[in-house]
């Protein structure tokens, strides 16, 4: 029987160079009631922006993590998203255009995942926006416990907590909090949130046409990022029960939640893992957390911050308080998250 080359890319696309633009145009075509796509500036903007008097939220980063960030533009979450090419940071011009498009006079919060490229480009954009008289507060999200936060690394990566920070800070902005308060809420989510990811397969950026790394049959990678970065270690694929034990141990030993803590448990798919497996993982997470004396009072299960078609999952735990819980429960209406409306 003839076999095709194992590394051949099988993707729906026209021209690899047009993947991002065509995908954003599709997002706008599908959700024209919620957002618009400004092709000239390559940004996605909430349809009713700027909302007068409301603090605006802008986020962005390389594409390939959909629905993050464009899928979270809408009421109660982001006012604009700036997508870069796949796994490449956007440029300051996009961020400045987005910041200007959404500023309703109350200032703009930039939610930045902690990657060197994203941080540097957002820093330059914040300076430029300040020069134009727009007040900007930047919040860096760095929740990935797989990376040691030390002088010897670029610091922890921003992963799952980004989704939670965008939702919760978005709700704070919607209820009328001022700039410092909205940024403070986002920082609190980052401080109280921790994540850990695993991969069962690599992923293939359309422009590269080949997988980011090789993962032999029967092996998995522990502690991966969302750009095909390698993890802490590689090993044989254990049972889901054992894998969740490892993931939760990594998160809980770092988060050190209070006795009887209430948490939001977020089981996130990396793009190539079906919902049946994500719910199987959530079952393990729910049982193991309760056994450890931690109560998952809120949850999110699904593929929200992905790494193209990678098979894998991440677990994020956010230690809740009353305010964070009520902001999580507040209405949200975006392409990828919707409740209460």
């Amino acid at each position: 029987m003839a076999t095709s080359a194992p590394t051949a890319m099988k993707k729906f696309l026209n021209d690899p160079a047009d993947v991002l633009k065509e995908s954003l145009a599709g997002l706008a075509a599908a959700h024209g009631d919620l957002l618009r796509y400004d092709a000239a500036n390559q940004i996605v903007v909430r349809i009713d922006a700027p909302v007068e008097g409301k603090v605006a939220l802008v986020s962005g980063g390389g594409a390939g993590h959909e629905p993050l960030h464009g899928g979270f533009v809408g009421a109660g979450m982001l006012d604009a998203a700036c997508p870069g090419e796949v796994f490449t940071s956007p440029v300051p011009d996009q961020m400045v255009a987005a910041t200007k498009a959404v500023d309703g006079g109350a200032g703009v919060v930039h939610i930045v995942k902690n990657y060197t490229g994203d941080v540097l480009n957002f820093k330059m954009a914040a300076d430029d926006a300040a020069d134009e008289g727009i007040a900007v507060e930047s919040v860096i999200i760095d929740d990935d416990v797989a990376v040691q936060d030390s002088l010897y690394t670029a610091g922890r990566r921003g992963v799952g907590a980004t989704v939670l920070a965008e939702k919760i800070a978005g709700a704070a902005a919607e209820r009328g909090d001022d700039l410092a308060a909205v940024a403070g809420i986002a920082r609190r989510v980052d401080e109280r949130g921790r994540s850990f990811g695993v991969a069962l397969s690599s992923c293939t950026p359309p422009a590269a046409g080949k997988p980011m790394f090789d993962l032999p049959d029967g092996e998995m990678e522990f502690g991966i990022g969302i750009h095909g970065e390698p993890g802490r270690r590689r090993g044989p694929i254990d049972s889901a029960h054992e894998i969740v034990e490892v993931m939760l141990e990594a998160v809980l030993s770092d988060l050190k939640p209070a006795e009887g803590a209430k948490v939001l448990a977020f089981v996130n798919g990396m793009g190539g893992t079906p919902a049946i497996e994500l719910y199987l993982l959530y079952n393990e997470v729910d049982q193991q957390l309760r056994a450890a004396g931690v109560e998952p009072v809120r949850n999110l299960v699904g593929s929200y911050i992905t790494s193209l078609e990678m098979a894998g999952a991440s677990i994020t735990l956010l230690e809740l308080d009353e305010e964070l819980t009520s902001l999580w429960d507040a209405p949200v209406h975006t392409p990828a998250l919707r409740w209460g409306v």
């Binding site: 870069g84 090419e85 796994f87 490449t88 940071s89 956007p90 440029v91 300051p92 011009d93 990657y115 060197t116 490229g117 540097l120 480009n121 820093k123 330059m124 990376v147 040691q148 002088l151 010897y152 690394t153 670029a154 990566r157 950026p205 422009a207 590269a208 980011m212 990022g225 750009h227 095909g228 970065e229 390698p230």
Partner: protein, 232 residues
């Protein structure tokens, strides 16, 4: 174009020496040469980046310097060298993305600001501009020598350039030494463990690979040396 203008020697004696100066045409030739060289070595840079980063350094730098070439060609009237560098820096920031865009964009912008609106500049001013570029990169990226970054190539290059000029060498000769020092500095990143950027996630696994940013720094400095050499 390189011109010779009379200039007092660094020693402050009465001797009048002939020191070459550099003008806007040199800067344009340099940036065009960089565009060609980065384009030719784009795959090499991307391969280096694939080993310890995310495999887009060549693609991103190529996109940036192609845009720089276009921006220079579209200028209505010729700007002084400093302005050209600021234009190139802004263009890189707007087109490259990743960490390289802000870092190289800031480097060229700071170098341009250091040169100001002068129509020509000499070796010492060039060395001062390189110092300003490095200071901008360090301020933004917070890298120190030994972190396995572009700084490991640029810092020894600046030292060699200053050393040569202070010893009375003409720009062209001092630049040859600077490129050699950059090359040696880039090669010194191979045994280092990365402490900045995406490569730092690899920890010890980043050892044994040449840093892509250091490699592109050598290409950019080498393009300047070749242009000055050709014009001398």
């Amino acid at each position: 174009m390189l011109r010779s203008t009379p200039q007092r020697s660094a020693g402050g004696s009465e001797t009048v020496v002939v020191a070459p100066t550099v003008d806007a045409n040199t800067i344009i030739s340099w940036l065009n040469e960089t565009e060609v060289e980065i384009g030719a070595q784009s795959d090499y840079l991307t391969q280096l980046d694939a080993a310890i980063g995310d495999g887009d350094h060549g693609t991103n730098m190529n996109r940036g310097f192609t845009a720089v070439g276009r921006a220079l060609a579209e200028q209505a009237e010729q700007a002084p060298p400093g302005r050209l560098l600021i234009l190139a820096g802004k263009t890189l920031i707007s087109t490259v993305g990743g960490a390289s865009g802000p870092l190289w964009g800031t480097a060229l912008r700071r170098a341009g600001r250091a040169l100001g609106d002068a129509e020509t500049f000499d070796g010492q001013q060039l060395a001062g501009a390189l110092d300003a570029a490095i200071a901008g990169v360090v301020e933004l990226g917070a890298a120190t020598p030994g972190d396995k970054t572009m700084i490991d190539a640029l810092t020894p290059a600046a030292e060699a350039l200053h050393g040569g000029l202070d010893a009375g060498e003409p720009i062209g000769v001092a630049l040859v030494a600077a490129v050699s020092a950059a090359q040696a500095g880039a090669e010194s990143t191979v045994p280092l463990q990365a402490r900045k950027g995406r490569a730092s996630y690899l920890g010890e696994r980043s050892i044994g690979h040449l840093d892509p940013g250091a490699a592109s720094s050598v290409i950019i400095l080498s393009a300047l040396q070749q242009v000055v050499d050709r014009e001398q």
